[in-house]
Symmetry: C2
Subunit: 196 residues, 2 copies
Amino acid sequence: MSSTNALDVLIQALRRLPGVGVKSAQRMAFHLLQHDRPGALALSRALEEAVGSVHHCTLCHTFTEAEVCGTCLDPERDATRLCVVETPADQSALERTGAFKGLYFVLMGRLSPLDGIGPKEIGLQKLMERATNGVVQEVILATNFNAEGEATAHVISEALKSRGLHVTRLARGVPVGSELEYVDLGTIAHALVDRR
Amino acid sequence: MSSTNALDVLIQALRRLPGVGVKSAQRMAFHLLQHDRPGALALSRALEEAVGSVHHCTLCHTFTEAEVCGTCLDPERDATRLCVVETPADQSALERTGAFKGLYFVLMGRLSPLDGIGPKEIGLQKLMERATNGVVQEVILATNFNAEGEATAHVISEALKSRGLHVTRLARGVPVGSELEYVDLGTIAHALVDRR
């Protein structure tokens, strides 16, 4: 795209963002430099600031700037229920439902041995300590319903059950608002098995 | 996504990138903070560096860190031909063909009155001065072949022709390697009119 070194460095740096290839990176660099230099500087500062100040909550593992995140500190929440999610975005989705008042444990990933993500990377040990603190009575597994999420749920479930904890999983079934004709067969089969 | 302010600021800053919505921004922020903090810092520095050092070539308007870009300074190039492109990426595409040895003028955009991009924003005055410097004999318009690119080419063409310059446009026609059956009708019609 260019004969300038700083621009090439910027394009290479933008390519490290997930889902950004060389064409997108060029378009982003062009846009920032041509139309939004204040935006580029704001992004630069935001990145530096976030890397410097954001780390993991010592209790639930999610991103926070404090030692312990706001959710974990909230005295209103039901500490007897612990919901295990993969990412802060998943936690946020659960929060928006307003249907859960317990606490969370955020794995910050999922088991994926091929990518080198094992029990240690998802903080399984920390989760064990948290779940066996004598307060937690039920652990709700809310990992994704794809192959890796299911495997993660299975591993955590086995480990927790062996310590005598009550472990549940989000219900599988037909999504709200959908018509049976268009729901995939695996989902219908699961909904049938889990009927109530 | 989070209870941390620095993270929210980062997500908002990432959303200013073209083609990045709130979900992508969250995914990017999560990826950088969880898996690639060195990448985040590298991007931060690259942005700051690029904003500080990259500006426009005084001759051809493209991005450069020097006063005049490398292409404009190259004594090997044919200064009698000036190719007008919309962006540095377009210039790069032309360069990779190896078929053009002249110089460039990069508009850094295209006419788009609805977006407030008029003749001034694309540097039409600068292009006029450059094209009428007594050396340039032919101006080749290589703006895109969409509505805005064609309109831009038309405006520039009229302005240059009124000063007696020889103005050409990239040929429209059937792309190399394509089969007529699958080429759109507008392209075939143009190829027929411009047959040689």
